[in-house]
Symmetry: C2
Subunit: 478 residues, 2 copies
Amino acid sequence: MPEPADFLFVHAHLFTMEGDGVGYIEDGAVAVRSGRIIDVGPSTALSTRFVATEVIDASHHALLPGLIDAHMHTPWAVVRGVAQDVAHWMQKGLAPYARHLHREAALAGAWLNVLEALKAGTTTLGDYAHPIEGWADVFAAVGVRAVLTATINALPPGQMANWGIGELYPLDDVVGEQSIRQAVDFAAEWHGAEDGRITVMYGPQGADMLTLDQLRHVKRLAAAEGLMLHMHVAQGDREIDQMLKRYGKRTPAFLEQIGYLDDQLLAVHLTEATEDETAQIAYSGASMVLCSGSIGIIDGIVPPAVAFRSAGGLVALGSDQAAGNNCNNIFNEMKLTAIFNKIKYRDPTVLPAWQVLRMATIEGAQAIGMGDEIGSIRRGKKADLILVDLHALNLMPVLTAPIRNIVPNLVYAATGHEVDLVMVDGRILVREGRVLAVDEAAVREEVQQRAQEVADAVKRDPVHLDMALLQAMEEGNL
Amino acid sequence: MPEPADFLFVHAHLFTMEGDGVGYIEDGAVAVRSGRIIDVGPSTALSTRFVATEVIDASHHALLPGLIDAHMHTPWAVVRGVAQDVAHWMQKGLAPYARHLHREAALAGAWLNVLEALKAGTTTLGDYAHPIEGWADVFAAVGVRAVLTATINALPPGQMANWGIGELYPLDDVVGEQSIRQAVDFAAEWHGAEDGRITVMYGPQGADMLTLDQLRHVKRLAAAEGLMLHMHVAQGDREIDQMLKRYGKRTPAFLEQIGYLDDQLLAVHLTEATEDETAQIAYSGASMVLCSGSIGIIDGIVPPAVAFRSAGGLVALGSDQAAGNNCNNIFNEMKLTAIFNKIKYRDPTVLPAWQVLRMATIEGAQAIGMGDEIGSIRRGKKADLILVDLHALNLMPVLTAPIRNIVPNLVYAATGHEVDLVMVDGRILVREGRVLAVDEAAVREEVQQRAQEVADAVKRDPVHLDMALLQAMEEGNL
């Protein structure tokens, strides 16, 4: 007697990501019921075992776990492309826009970025932003899985553009306390919301951006509530400079001292971490987020993810911010991660395709503490799945022996546009490349209008005269 | 009295690539007649000046010169993704496939690669391959602009897989002479064909792959016919090792000695060239092709294009071979080129977006000796044009002041799928992302079938047991 299923995917090139490799099953099938994967195996077996409400023929498609983007700042998508190719991108590129990123603009950015990522196969979005009203609702409305981190800092708002390069920036106790309260309220409201589809982390923005007492306070809160700490760590010479001036210590040693280095920490970037510091953080049980695209563009640096993994740490991928990445697409991050590290070590065997695919799926899930629920295709896990069209010209031909070329082509040739179908929690959100439940045209219009408002405000604000890219404008290079 | 035009593009974000920058014209227009650009300017002016058979509303689109891919090996697309993540990719990855790449398979690869590149906005394809019957016909049939180089070498066919690492490989006089004759015949048949849309270069494959006499012979032929020499130069430690063992000289010094270093040379890769050697080649007037993706993947190296440009040389971009790039897409190459070099120099200001866009257009055209005909949008030039949809989510929003974000987003965020329309020689080849005159489904089917034949033959050939990726297969990583 066949069992009922909501969906039965059949005839896929199935990459379960179970085991130590990619867990390939030829002519594979996956059965889904009530938001969960209820069986995985050969199509012949599952076709007789289940009667599904919908059978999805996945011939010529790769069926993969949904991709995980562990670190984004979605509101910044509304000013995509205004802060790259310059030194001091934050102060000389982003800051004038930060002053004028009003609430509606930030929300438009979130909408834009969430749809962009979703269409490119990202099912879990680790977003990091000020918890403005309506922010989490975007993820709830679209139906993606979200791990939301409300930014906690003690930086007086709107001042970033005034930071002198090399001077200590001011920390304001009152701003910091308010920021912590907001984060606590946000966690109370949203952690576990949408049937568990939305969860929360605590987000001290950086060791340089809160007072010492506040950093300790946030750590106690997170420990008490069992939430992870999502934090930028050693993210640039700017941060290291601030830490040395404020505490006489580099970030990793400082974090060790205040008890931050443990398996509750999700450490983002490590741009400036030495090999020893990297190993120290990995040994502590903390995980790392690697943002290859953004750090490559804004710093010209390849963060120490290979060293972190060698020390036994888990690494997730993140697309960071679109002002200077300039896209939020895990296919892009997989490719850049694999090649950047080959270049860093001058060795083509470093980070082969399958390893970065693991970082984007099962290893990423483990890094953010969700390895039991998502990241691989296994009975009992949540049904976060994507289908990638292997008949896209740039992914053809499909060969399975003696060398199977699918994973290398997914990593080095796919762009994200080949994603046909995206399922989250057993619900199909994207089909034939279209987001089903959202009016994309309306989002486009809103994004353009809000972005224009921000740009107009920046143009009226004299602080924009200090932007590094103004010279490129004057010289006719933009 | 308005003048007639075949096409009038209006309301574009027009990047002419004229002058030293990107030559932006807001609300720009381009008139095309008989395959040539006949006027360029503001939409208001051209709308009254011309009556066109078709007016194309380019609102929300970037209008750019067609992109130039100066170095491809299209037949290899038929085995996309079989030779990456390994050391000695040529011998341990590609070679077993090279033995079985029969004519129909090579042609299927050419079809696949030409369509892939065309859809991603490449209008000029610099292909390099054995001049099998039917190869040039692919470019003629599709309607793209092609610069074809028939490979000249003295390597006994099918032997590559037997090359011992570090041993001199054999050169066969008869093979070399036959190869030269084929190239001469090919040039006679195809140079200037299709109303000049197809031109030819001479292609001594590498200084290590022909005898000294043959290298001199080819140089004389090219000089007499006024054709460029398209050659792999210092392309890997393999080549340098061969040159030292055969002639006691590294490649650049050897080429200097035999009179190859002049403005007739298009030098590909320079992977192993020192700063001094790079400058020496640039000073000679030779141009360079930079294949960031393929060299990043197969060697983990960033070739010295920045040094080459600093020494006054011209650099074109190339996508090389899909066996190990794994895609042939100049948007991909622009992005990788910009970021790889920021990483190489640990400086985010190195190779800003506009410079790599110039390499993909006007500088690339100049590098291949076609700067007077293509590469920018100027009255009198050939009408090779592309429209890129700026309302694709990953390219939104479109901002024009105080910072215009279009060029950075084209370089860092576009994937090539945003290309809506492609025109070559005043003829529209791609519209709404579809190739008009080609049956794509038939190409897909042919590619898959021929690729399978090659893979099956490789599997039967014991030489495949030496492939590096077999271990990854056995370990479940592919």
